[in-house]
Symmetry: C3
Subunit: 128 residues, 3 copies
């Protein structure tokens, strides 16, 4: 943890560099004290099919889910979510200036008792 899962409409790539959106999110997560660097995974998936809102052909969306281990303070999570959302809003300023775009973020808390990880990346990063 933390894992940021992003879903988006396939047409979005015609005018937005989705890798840059991932990077904007990653920069915020990297700066946060809440999230160990070795635990960060940002990944984005283009939908094969989608229908957004009233199905206007210009409609596009980005929907993000941040999964974090349970046990953090809700206020800290809320602050982290706000910074993350704000950074992604900046990266998506162009589509957000139209009336055909929808951006969302939710945070999900994961029960650590039912979680497992094996992260050899961690040993490399902790040497620095």
């Amino acid at each position: 943890m933390p894992h940021l899962h992003i879903e988006y409409s396939p047409n979005l790539e015609r005018y937005v560099a989705v890798q840059d959106v991932c990077r904007a999110a990653w920069e915020v997560m990297k700066e946060s004290e809440l999230f160990p660097l070795a635990g960060i995974r940002v990944r984005a998936f283009a939908a094969d099919h989608c229908i957004v809102a009233d199905d206007h052909p210009d409609n596009d969306f980005v929907a993000m889910t941040l999964s974090v281990g349970a046990g953090r303070e809700k206020a800290a999570l809320k602050a982290a979510g706000e910074r993350l959302f704000s950074a992604v809003q900046d990266a998506l300023a162009a589509p957000l200036a139209t009336t055909h775009f929808a951006l969302s973020l939710e945070i999900r808390e994961i029960d650590a008792a039912l979680g497992w990880k094996d992260t050899p990346i961690h040993s490399r990063l902790s040497q620095h």
Copy 2:
């Protein structure tokens, strides 16, 4: 919200128009008083790899997750889920008539305190 996330086996597209399945779901969500039109996102993702049940090569699946903001009455959610599931069953009547198909739906409730949205689509739709 509401977001409908659909996953399916890649072979399904050989004999089912997945966009029509999305549309059948969208029609029900659009009619429901529970869900604001501007908040609807239906999206479907073909798996890159999958194994279904006993791994018979004819097996296919569609798995749906509907995410809604917490706080709605459970009975209303249950009724909405039933209408949605029934409409998708109709759209998938052909594969459901075989013994090689599996359809599922779950509803997840999202904590609004850990959710953010920026939906310029909303301003366009509320003008009508």
Copy 3:
């Protein structure tokens, strides 16, 4: 249920057969008394974009989510999760021996009152 959803970085397919990872997971799920065979769906999705940990270009990840109906004993779930994670660790021994890989599993419990299924596969399998 149970549904195993796997996400992975696209570069992973250069040196790992993801279908074999799915099969290793499926074998464990098939043996478990906790999970009916007809309910198993293992599916894997390659990300279109991702950034893992410190964004080293060799970094790859596999992130798994197992969704099961609520109501099972936590100890039994924990044991099933451990067997599943261990089998996938074996299947991914090569990348886990580097310092550029990250593997994770979480188990999510699903509220059966807000779940629906239509599984004609079940009737075929229960005849045996």
